[in-house]
Symmetry: C2
Subunit: 415 residues, 2 copies
């Protein structure tokens, strides 16, 4: 058995205990984790220091260094997150659709944990604790495989969480860290079909594609967002300008940020200058179709075909003038990644048809795409945003980390 197979087997056994542990014990374990992280902060900061020194020596990009760095305030945020998860309702054990059948069998569907969840992510040590807390609360054991740049920080967090689990009377192996951070260990994790029930990649498009392409374990695909804001000819144009400004610039690096603006020809001449008046305050680079350039001027770069399919993740916006509703919907269904799509309109039928016809995890009328998020949607917390249609779609909260089983009460029935 490889190291990882042994971790998988241990996680499977730990997961069985955790699956029937009950809400009180799981919450006690989460509180023990929160307290242990608080009291062993020095250990975490020292481990993070080691990661940061290596990062500086390797000339890591400043934005990535920032995501890697921990300080007292960020650790307090992590602890807070754990307590928020503890406060959420426990999804496990709810029985739905229970009914008697004509033969007297009483059949219900009970919500149960998935079992063992693998998480593959990049160099963000806070994900280590966030993801573990969500898995624990939903009764799942978790095997974490973080980026090698955060290895010392992750190791410190995981050691603390395992100690806290033990104190709370749960198996240490409910949380495990893959200690081999080579590419090979990621590949091995993707093939651990005997022990892993699902694998969730959290990170950039490259990581996610690699997991989706190579995994034999079921994968929940998360996060790539090529999102559009479509300003319909009957839109409130000021509202439209506000919405595209917010969707593009409030946090351009995240997946629910807009990458492309579509506007009906009938209002393009009036709308585009309004939108630009806002976007220019953040130095947004526009890449437009010929009509957009004709209206706004040559400072707009010509959009290439590839621009229509790109998640820029930056202060860059593709802009296209369309003939009307049908072209807009067809364009979105062709070029969108099925994440979040918005129409701005005062027309009742255009609004309803947009909700019907656009195929995406979240479809908006008159609001910014930036709201696609577990907290904003009222799920309490999220482990990621699924852009696939199977199992979970959109922000995934605790319920999306569960499966179900049919329970059947009989009195001797045979068929």
């Amino acid at each position: 058995m490889t190291q990882l197979e042994m971790q998988g087997l241990a996680a499977k056994h730990a997961g069985r205990v955790l699956s029937i542990a009950g809400t009180a014990r799981k919450n006690a374990a989460l509180e023990a984790i929160a307290q242990a992280i608080e009291s062993r902060q020095t250990e975490i900061l020292a481990a993070n220091q080691a990661d940061m020194e290596a990062a500086r020596a390797a000339n890591m990009r400043p934005a990535l260094q920032d995501r890697l760095a921990l300080d007292e305030k960020r650790i307090a945020g992590v602890v807070d997150g754990v307590r928020q998860v503890a406060a959420l309702p426990d999804p496990i054990g709810a029985v739905t659709q229970m009914a008697s059948r004509p033969n007297g069998l009483v059949i219900g569907r009970r919500r149960v944990p998935l079992g063992v969840i693998g998480i593959i992510y990049e160099a963000r040590p806070n994900v280590t604790v966030d993801a573990a807390a969500l898995c624990l609360k939903s009764g799942n054991a978790v095997i974490l495989r973080g980026g090698k740049e955060a290895f010392h920080s992750n190791q410190a967090f995981v050691a603390i969480m395992r100690d806290a689990l033990e104190c709370a009377g749960l198996p240490r192996d409910c949380v495990a860290l893959v200690t081999d951070t080579t590419r090979q260990s990621a590949t091995e994790l993707m093939n651990l079909t005997e022990y892993l029930d699902v694998l969730i990649p959290r990170g950039g498009a490259g990581l996610i594609q690699s997991v989706v392409q190579n995994a034999k374990v079921p994968v929940i695909e998360t996060g790539v967002g090529v999102c559009h804001v479509y300003v319909h000819q009957e839109a409130d144009l000021d509202m439209g300008a506000n919405i595209i400004f917010n969707a593009k610039t409030s946090r351009p690096s995240v997946c629910n940020a807009a990458e492309c603006l579509l506007v009906d020809r009938a209002v393009a001449g009036a709308f585009l200058p309004k939108a630009w008046a806002l976007l220019r305050t953040k130095n947004v680079e526009l890449r437009g179709c010929p009509e957009t350039r004709a209206i706004l001027g040559d400072f707009v770069k010509p959009a290439t075909e590839a621009d229509w399919d790109t998640e820029f993740g930056d202060y860059i916006l593709a802009v296209k003038v369309v003939s009307g509703f049908e072209e807009a919907v067809e364009f979105i269904n062709t070029h969108g990644s099925g994440h979040s799509e918005a129409i701005v309109t005062n027309n009742y039928f255009a609004a309803q048809q947009f909700l019907d016809q656009v195929d995406a995890a979240a479809v908006y009328v008159n609001a910014s795409t930036r709201f696609t998020d577990g907290n904003e949607f009222g799920l309490g917390a999220e482990i990621g945003i699924s852009t696939q249609k199977m199992h979970a779609r959109g922000p995934m909260g605790l319920e999306e980390l569960t499966s179900s089983k049919f329970i059947v009460y009989g009195t001797g029935q045979v068929r």
Copy 2:
């Protein structure tokens, strides 16, 4: 573009139309299909005749020939199935969990079709129509890839269904048949990630494993059943004997049939002769542990290690005496396939703990495992029985062929 890619693209476009077609039009299309199959029966029977002649020439096993054969009665059954699907409630469009957020956004989750479903199955022409009807009712386009032995029958059914769709005002390409029945076309279908939203294999363990191992498209794993009946020391032994007799012999070839009997040591001496008195009437071959052989005699074959993990699909039963509840649950969780598991007991705590601790799609107290079935569970119809934990688990009805999208009504909100 390959032939299959063209079919995929056509199915994707057809699926968009179908996804918003509404219940009345979908039901009208199903009724048109039912009528067309009735009125063009001669065509189907002639096509089936061609398949049957080839099957006889190739010396196909009689049981397989029987599954391939169609006659007027079987066609009437197929037509009946289509009308039953038409009569089921439409799962599409239901909005759940709709609520206002503090910022005034109104957010709901709407049930939508998956999109395009691929079905890979063996030489059973009735599956062609069953599967298509379930996909159509749930708003999904479907690409069917049946076994080559049923090719002419499948082609006849699909031609008739496409004509009927057109008459009902829906795109013909809502239903498509893969006309290349080589292994290569199956592989290509498993990799059609751009057009297929999910692939469902229906058939034997070999087919299913091949799809699970090789597909890049998300797969719903169906059907392998290594199911147990566990007779607890506080069981009604007559009930236990009835249940294992039914679970083993009422239809041994199906996945919810029992393959293994576990019995507590305390009652093995009293129970096993009772069970054998029934099982012998069907000439069931027993493969037992040493204790079983000591109780029943040497006619019981010694069970090999492999027997504990085998879906016999035949009048063969593995039998093991266990020390008690814990060993039984551990054995089931180790050797079961997560399909259907039953305990026979009068003890309240044993019953509840079995439901809690056994990890399977359907867990029974005092009833035969043979009830795991969409009709028996009240789902109305089923496309298969999922043994995976993601998306769908257990019998899959129309709801399991759907996804969801968040719909968001705003009044200009930005974040």
